[in-house]
Symmetry: C2
């Protein structure tokens, strides 16, 4: 059979879901076109480490052409899809048209500011490499400015760091930031009084990592407090203008730094498809991950809305995206072979969040862990996941070295 | 003696000259304020490696606060000096005033476009991390675009890469770029026909690396040609608009990529000092490196103009800057002790340029080397120079690995 006659699968998005699907379809009798706006896959769970100058972008990003160098049934195209014609089965990319037989929408998510435009404009994000590097530059610049600021009030505002959102990302960011300050910055900025620096973690609800069991929420609170993170519950943000944070109860916090981790929604493109959306803009899909009315279109990951057995929507997590990437690859193979589709069932692999070095919380195999043992599990698991890519050995040596010896060289302020 | 009463030495610029001076003054009975617009020292000779995706910015940039963490007589200030008052002996930085007893101007150089504003606007540079990362992103983007361009003429223009300037930087860049194409890009862009890619090196004079002995110039020509770099002599650029290059003889080259390495001048601030300047804006200094009329002000490195024994200006090279950094530290110690100043004499350590992997040209101890042996010398010397910084071990493993196995993960297009 001529390669041109093989069914053409177009995958939009090379996050965890799209990447997994593409890899699982390696030896299938199909042609694949993988599309992403970046030329790399990003290991997003460690993006906060870039923001706190713990890791380099290149340590958590892998060029897609390198990953797929040996996968002969796949072509990569860098670019942003401008529209999709479901009726005629083609996507528009960089001004040209790409026809598909099967389409996998794995477009991922983006930060949700819930309509607070002022916050959106002034807040720092952890969504992609650019925003993480921006955050790193901003944090380091605050220290530089504080080191030469004579006015005590102004200096305190420069040294107050607010993280919004008590989910895993917020917890990890606040913990890592507190450690950066206590371990590194105090040595490098001897003129700054540690007592003037503050890390605040604001949570709108009454618990951190709300979906975790109670003993882990308490452990998280305790571990963060030990690292001098000030946790405020029921703290609902109403405004941030780059100078001060305002809360619903009228409290004001003078700060130039607000890192927003309190919301995710499906990527913008889902609003332009004319499809049925659920909360956070996610596209409703059947259990087979197919789009209603368009069985040749699959939606997976953050952009897909599917409920689990007890009527709860599946969370926007990399573990869901990866499992759905596997499932969609299987269903496309079945479709090509004329077999029936299989419904997707999410297997919860547990929960895991790190709180700075040598402290974490984990829920695995029905058991709760916290402290050093949870942190060792976290390190082991992330090394295992990273090592899935070819030749990460050197990066890992580098990473382990930095992590254990606090001697990284990442603290570069690289642009304005 | 109270620390406040110690003589205050202000060093502007943490390039090779300023950094060396600061380190050499470690145990002197003085206070030092080191100022730089970046928070890192840049190992500039390897900047072209960042541009061709061979090294990461963090592998050639070191945070200054980390370098000087243990030097107690030194304070670092990040910022740009807006003016200098030689009469009252202070510099203005970030809106505040810093008084000095001794001043070291080590402000370095910047790209010289010789008034060609069109070229300046559209050309790529190798001056700092930002411009090198821009160059990397641009090169990779050309390949991405070419891989989906159906029109043969347009594709050829995307795959034509012009390097201007036959000095060491131009030679190294052209050679490394040709290797990136032949070793890496052909594997990652299987749809691109290698015969359509071109690397051109344009030199306005009639020789490459003009200050080297004849046999090395010939070796350079030969080694570059073997790597498929097309060398054009007497090629004087008159215009580049981002679409095509125009030469003085009327030739046009259709290309989107021009990397300019053909000129350096002293940093812009030297024009605002009201001091006597020589060619390329460099500040004329006495043999002691002192500024005429202001013996408490020293100028070193690219920004200083001094002639060697035979009436030739000293070249704008890191080796000159480093030797002058040592000399100025010695002269400041002597000044503080009331001793006479020593004249500076440049000791030429030889010349060394690499032409891609396993090929280089070198002139050391009066002997010319070329090919693999010169390249091994080059690698050894650069490792030695890099290792001068604490704890470069991991970076070096990383670097050697990448260099030998072509397996780096640096090919990220990180921003628009």
């Amino acid at each position: 059979m001529n390669a041109k006659q093989l069914p053409h699968v177009v995958i939009i998005g090379a996050g965890f879901g799209g990447l997994t699907a593409a890899q699982k379809l390696k030896n299938a009798p199909i042609r694949i076109t993988l599309i992403d706006k970046n030329n790399y896959h990003l290991f997003q769970p460690l993006l906060y480490q870039v923001a706190i100058a713990g890791l380099l972008p290149s340590q958590i990003a892998y060029p897609l052409r390198t990953i797929f160098r040996k996968q002969e049934n796949l072509t990569f195209q860098m670019g942003e899809v401008s529209s999709i014609d479901f009726a005629s089965r083609f996507v528009k990319l960089n001004g040209s048209v790409i026809a598909y037989d099967y389409l996998i929408l794995a477009v991922g998510g983006e930060t949700n500011f819930f309509g607070m435009d002022g916050v959106k404009e002034s807040a720092l994000q952890l969504k992609d490499i650019d925003s993480a590097v921006n955050t790193r530059n901003h944090l380091l610049r605050m220290f530089e400015k504080a080191s030469r600021e004579a006015d005590a009030e102004k200096r305190k505002a420069l040294l107050t760091f607010v993280v919004v959102g008590g989910g895993p990302t917020g917890v990890e960011t606040a913990g890592a930031l507190a450690e950066l300050i206590s371990h590194v910055m105090r040595k490098e900025y001897p003129t700054i009084d540690p007592a003037e620096t503050r890390v605040l973690l604001l949570e709108a609800g009454n618990a951190l990592i709300a979906s975790y069991p109670d003993e882990l929420r308490r452990a998280t609170h305790r571990l963060l407090s030990k690292k001098n993170v000030e946790i405020q519950y029921n703290a609902r943000l109403t405004d941030f203008n780059g100078q001060r944070v305002r809360l619903a109860d009228g409290t004001q916090i003078m700060t130039h730094t607000l890192i927003w981790t309190a919301g995710v929604k499906a990527a913008e493109i889902t609003n332009q498809l004319g499809v049925r959306q659920a909360g956070s803009g996610r596209v409703r899909v059947a259990e087979s991950l197919q789009m209603p009315d368009h069985p040749e279109v699959y939606v997976i990951g953050d952009a897909a809305y599917l409920e689990n057995g007890n009527g709860q929507p599946l969370p926007m997590l990399s573990t869901v995206a990866i499992q759905q990437g596997n499932a969609v690859a299987e269903n496309i193979r079945r479709a090509v072979n004329g077999q029936t589709q299989k419904p997707f069932h999410y297997k919860d692999p547990g929960l895991l969040a790190t709180i700075g070095r040598n402290a974490a919380v984990a829920r695995l195999w029905g058991i709760s862990f916290s402290g050093l043992i949870a942190w060792l599990i976290w390190v082991g698991l992330h090394i295992y996941r990273l090592i899935g890519f070819r030749n990460r050995l050197v990066v890992l040596i580098n990473w382990a070295w930095d992590y254990f010896f606090y001697d990284n060289q990442v603290r570069l302020i690289t642009r304005e």
